[in-house]
């Protein structure tokens, strides 16, 4: 039972570390961690068959290795030479280029695996509940869309059946016309009814109010300061400190506007989330991993995160302390505080 916010932090940590580390040992370790967490926490329905990350790796790693090996003619260990007259492909095919391509495929697989776990363990409803209050209308649109997806799928099946009864068969693209247009019309008719129901429940009384001028002005100011700071950071090296400060102020103003806009939208929660010790454990685990990989420690082991197979392929270094640090990402799979699964939101027990 891990909170969706903790899961989000976990997925982002996997992304950050996979993007930062280029050492295949750590990348493989990270991939194994995501697979263990997925196997432990994903609902049984999402675990049938071979893990999707392995299937993804079976395609991504060889493809990336082949593409890079055939097109990047760098490295000392030449395996074969392709004729020079072949455009792009002509030149030596090296072991190092193949290894670098495979490493890129492995990194991609790790990111995919992390987010595949995230998609499996977080119910869509919980993600929608994360929508900030400032995005009230956006949240409503999102909720309507997600609610109507199953209905639309059922409508699609019904329309296909009705057309089939009339002798219509879908063989090519053109045959979808008598299916799609009725689907569109029936969907829009339903949206008319929904809009009337929303107005009858007083929706328009709130949403017809436009954004206050002050909010708009602050938003424009925040964007202006952020853009100005970023441009200064890029083009005025001597103003780097001021530029970074400007970017932080710009981000702060935009976040402040979000809070300000959110205050105007009261929201009640029927079943509030409860933050548990296990969520704290996950956050601490992610913090440990981020600290090991991102903070500029005066510690030589951190340098082992970087690795390049060029110009000659060598065995990558491995620091056990870095490996231990990465194990912080296993925290969601730990069951020491709860006997329940990892995926269900924290609802208070019914009395």
């Amino acid at each position: 039972m891990v909170d969706v916010r903790a899961w989000l932090l976990w997925a982002l940590t996997v992304l950050v570390v996979a993007s930062s580390a280029r050492n295949p040992f750590y990348v493989v370790l990270l991939l194994l961690i995501t697979m263990v967490v997925g196997a432990t926490c994903a609902p049984a329905r999402g675990r049938r068959g071979a893990p999707s990350s392995l299937r993804f790796a079976a395609v991504a790693v060889p493809m990336a290795a082949l593409f890079n090996g055939l097109t990047a003619h760098l490295g000392d260990t030449v395996l074969l030479r392709l004729p020079a007259w072949l455009p792009l492909l002509g030149g030596p095919v090296t072991l190092e280029a193949l290894a670098f391509g495979a490493l890129n495929g492995l990194t991609l697989t790790t990111i995919f695996s992390g987010f595949a776990v995230f998609n499996q363990v977080t119910p869509v409803r919980d993600l929608v509940r994360l929508t900030p209050r400032a995005f009230h209308e956006a949240g409503v649109v999102l909720s309507i869309a997600l609610t109507f997806v199953p209905q639309t799928t059922r409508s699609l099946a019904r329309i296909r059946e009705a057309q089939a009864v009339r002798g219509h068969r879908v063989r090519g693209l053109r045959d979808w016309l008598p299916v799609f247009i009725p689907l569109l019309v029936s969907g829009l008719e339903r949206s008319m009814g929904l809009a009337e129901a929303m107005v009858a429940r007083g929706y328009g009384a709130v949403s017809d109010r436009a954004q206050p001028l002050r909010t708009q002005a602050l938003l424009a100011l925040g964007l202006f300061v952020l853009l100005g700071g970023w441009l200064a950071f890029l083009f005025l090296p001597s103003w780097k400190g001021v530029a970074l400060g400007g970017m932080i102020v710009g981000v702060g103003i935009i976040v402040g506007v979000l809070r300000l806009a959110g205050r105007a939208v009261p929201r009640t929660v029927y079943r509030p989330y409860r933050w548990s010790r296990r969520d704290t454990l996950v956050v601490l685990g992610c913090g440990l991993v981020l600290a090991v990989t991102l903070l500029p420690w005066p510690w030589p082991g951190r340098a082992t995160l970087a690795y390049t197979p060029f110009p000659r392929l060598t065995l990558p270094p491995f620091d056990p302390l870095v490996g231990l640090g990465l194990l912080g990402l296993v925290a969601p799979a730990a069951r020491m505080y709860s006997s329940h699964g990892c995926t269900h939101p924290h609802y208070p027990k019914a009395k």
Binding site: L142, R190, M192, G204, R209, A210, L234
Partner: protein, 277 residues
């Protein structure tokens, strides 16, 4: 005043989005190679965060302009229908980059305007990502790019001065042909452009042959030439299928779908104002 501020927010958000896409290129133009290498690992994360932030700012502005219940409901339902098409695309693999989601975004933006088009594009990719397990670091870029597809379709409708749908013929003949040709060309162009834009965020960090990869200090002309070589070698064939699919779908669905959307636009905008005095 309100319109000026709104325009400023549009321009600034889009500028931040564009800068986020091209940020890695300018980063090293002014610096030494070593700095570029040092930043090459965190640059994708920085750009993803800033793309997300500018998207957030734009959404706050767009939804803050008094969205009516009808617009909210219609947007939600159209996003649901288009997301189901993405689900079909995932279940039944299509050739290359062919995807049926772009044509509804283009036609909705064309009929309902740029603001609706942007929201439709961004929300369609978000919802379809949620239901197909496609949430990842690529999502903000996809939302931004598909939002631009819908937004520019709205501009196309305005530029062509073809948004007075109330005066259109009921049947798909004659006057529709020019619109369908224009929309087909537009759909074809976006089929290629979408892939070209999405590639940009990772291309500076991609490994590959020298003539296809970006390096610190190369000029804009050389950058474009290398990117073109990379695009032709890796993405053109894939994106051509998307572009051709857009054209086929617009030729097939364009007239009846624009007609249907225009009919509902008239119904949704029907209001009764009581007479005063």
């Amino acid at each position: 005043m309100r319109r000026s501020l709104s325009a400023a927010i549009y321009v600034l958000s889009t500028a931040i989005g564009v800068l986020a896409f091209v940020y890695p290129f300018v980063l090293d133009v002014r610096a030494t190679g070593s700095l570029g290498v040092a930043h090459s690992q965190d640059a994708p994360l920085v750009t993803a965060a800033l793309v997300g932030l500018s998207l957030v700012a734009l959404l706050v502005e767009l939804q803050g302009q008094a969205i009516s219940a009808k617009t909210v409901a219609m947007l939600g339902v159209l996003v649901a229908i288009t997301s189901v098409l993405r689900f079909v695309e995932v279940a039944v693999p299509m050739p290359g980059g062919f995807s049926p989601v772009f044509v509804p975004i283009i036609l909705a933006g064309y009929v309902f305007g740029s603001r609706f088009g942007f929201l439709m594009g961004a929300f369609t990719l978000l919802v379809s990502g949620l239901i197909t397990g496609g949430v990842g670091p690529w999502l903000p870029y996809q939302m931004f790019a598909s939002g631009w597809v819908g937004m520019s379709a709205g501009w196309l409708g305005q530029i062509s001065n073809l948004q007075s749908h109330s005066q259109r013929p009921a049947s798909g003949t004659g006057d529709w042909r020019l619109e369908i040709v224009v929309l087909s060309v537009f759909g074809f162009a976006w089929g290629l452009l979408y892939g070209a834009i999405i590639n940009v965020y990772f291309w500076p960090f991609a490994a590959g042959p020298v003539e296809q990869t970006w390096a610190p200090g190369i000029g804009p002309g050389e950058t474009l030439a290398r990117y073109a070589a990379f695009y032709v070698a890796t993405s053109l064939g894939w994106d051509l299928m998307r572009a051709a699919g857009n054209v086929a779908l617009i030729l097939l669905l364009g007239v009846p779908m624009v007609h249907t959307l225009a009919r509902f636009q008239r119904r949704f905008h029907f209001e009764v104002h009581p007479a005063h005095g």
